[in-house]
Amino acid sequence: MQRTNTPRAVARWWHGFVATAAMMALAPLLFAEYTLTLLAIYALLALSLAFVWGLGGILCFGQAAFYGLGAYTYAVVSINMGGSTLAVIMGVLVAAVAALALGAMMFYGRIGDVYLGVITLVFTLLLFKYASSTAGSEYVIGQARLGGFNGIPGFPPMNVPGRPDVVVYGLGLYAVVAVAVLACWALLRWVGSTSFGRVLIGVRESELRSELCGYDVRLVKTVAFGLGGAVAGLAGVLFACWAEIVTPEVFSLGVSAEIIIWVLVGGLGGLWGPMLGAVLLGALKGWLGMQQWMDSGLVMGALLVAVVLFLPQGVMPALARLASAGRKEGGHER
């Protein structure tokens, strides 16, 4: 599907953007900001895969890898630096560089669909296994012990840049995350409308034709993958600030699976749908986790199967179609 860049479409997007921003600003009046912050982080994570998969056609099975790298890097650097500013930057950078490196290795090797899935899956697994095995005092980076299965607790939370004593938490942290989400969303939407973005979508549609036009498909995909990795890394950094502990769980296959489910349910190809999908499914999972009679994995898994079988375009787009069909019906004389 193609985004239209007509003035009307752009205006509609801005309306949606402002409405979403308003909703995010008002949400803490209704819900606990602790939960909202986590959901917003999920939305950011979903956004990263929505860009890479929806626009670039790259199904990454291991987006959690960059999320985890962002989180771990933040923890390690903040412990060593005593403050958060450099840690945030490093977190995003490390994730971006890892994504660029992995992407280059895969795309310049002309790896196809399935094998791309394998390699991204394996990459996440590698990180998970390695992180889980780092118990013991010899696994340190500077002053930060990696802590194996138990992870890294007690690192400095986010502080205002330049003022290490002023900690950002609670509502303040929520505001930071919300701004990050909105900024990244606007940024990625903008990228999609540039020459590069349109070429990326073209590559998704037909790699052969893109190459025959003279575009270096490998470079385009690598850059897109790197950008997605950076956004996922940012989500990881913010997660570390919120959770105040990072464990190997961030690299788990479970997290990677959830991200894919969010994007599928939200509608592959769009940016807003997957973010909403992440928020709703994240909330659903949290709610399921609080009761005992239904296992959350069972529900999520069944949902994924159902979506793939019946609504491969995504739940959100299907609902949207229903809604517009309903509106049309209502306008007719009966």
Partner: protein, 288 residues
């Protein structure tokens, strides 16, 4: 000398385990190009079937060699009829749907069996190998794998049914034109693949603690082994298991078991970078 024998046995055991957990997936992937990401949970289901059968007083050998495969085979039939058959040709969708299935199965098994590790008593004692002892059960596992691989090879290469299956791998349309129903072949293959997975679960139950979340460790290795092996079912699985198992064992002896696992994963990535279609796209091409 004895130590070398024990090390060799250890290596054989590592390769055999890898081949055993990969065989079912290889069969389904080799034929239908379907990657069943719930394969790990199928193995776990086989384990639980064995455990449950044991609890009902069934003889352990029957439980692991008969009950487990049959149970999981039946389950596989259900899955194929309800989910897989709608997604043929849609590789990515199959991956996603089976991933959902794996999550659901893990969740479902937690609800039914709880999350604690259930052990199965080891029915065989140690076996003397020169001055050392090795687990008799380990020998059993190696034997089961060897028999399984041989049977699969013989059936695929020497029987008419195997010929039809291999024909369908190359071209479903031609096979259909010859009067065989590709749909039936796919269903049958999936069921047999599931049975093999169940067998793996049953056989490994006394060695590996079975929990609903154990599936993850199986699928990762099996997935990697199958993709690295390439299109040939038996040759590919054996080639990949041998290669990856040896690398893993080598690094394990050099350092720690964790390093061995990491080495396995890294070598798979390197292998796929140079041979994206798997080992049997170059070596042992065209064998079963």
């Amino acid at each position: 000398m004895d130590q070398l024998l024990v090390s060799l046995f250890d290596l054989a055991y590592g390769i055999a385990t890898l081949a055993l957990i990969s065989a079912g997936l290889a069969l389904v992937f080799g034929l239908m190009r379907v990657i069943n990401l719930a394969h790990g949970e199928f193995i776990v289901l086989g384990g639980y079937a064995t455990i449950t059968a044991l609890q009902w007083g069934v003889n352990i050998w029957l439980a692991m060699l008969v009950v487990a495969p049959l149970t999981v085979g039946l389950f596989g039939l259900l899955v194929e009829r309800l989910v897989i058959r709608w997604l043929y040709g849609r590789t990515v969708d199959t991956l996603l749907a089976t991933w959902g299935l794996s999550l659901a199965m893990a969740g479902g098994m937690s609800m039914v069996f709880g999350t604690t590790t259930t052990g199965v008593p080891n029915p065989l004692g140690p076996v003397q190998l020169g001055a050392y002892q090795v687990g008799g059960y380990g020998v059993f596992v190696v034997c089961v794998t060897a028999v399984l691989m041989s049977v699969m090879y013989l059936v695929l290469k020497r029987t008419r049914a195997g010929l039809v299956v291999r024909g369908a791998m190359q071209s479903a349309q031609v096979v259909a034109a010859l009067g065989h129903s590709p749909q039936r072949i796919y269903t049958l293959t999936f069921v047999v693949g599931s049975m093999v997975s169940g067998l793996a679960g049953g056989v490994l139950a006394p060695l590996v603690g079975i929990t609903p979340s154990s599936g993850g460790q199986f699928i990762a290795k099996a997935f990697i082994t199958v993709i690295s092996g390439g299109a040939s079912v038996v040759a590919g699985t054996l080639a990949a298991s041998t290669l990856l198992g040896t690398v893993s064992k080598f690094f394990e002896l050099l350092a720690t078991p964790v390093v061995g696992e990491l080495a396995l994963l890294v070598s798979a990535v390197i292998l796929l970078r140079w041979l994206p279609q798997g080992i049997t796209s170059r070596v042992f091409k065209g064998s079963a």
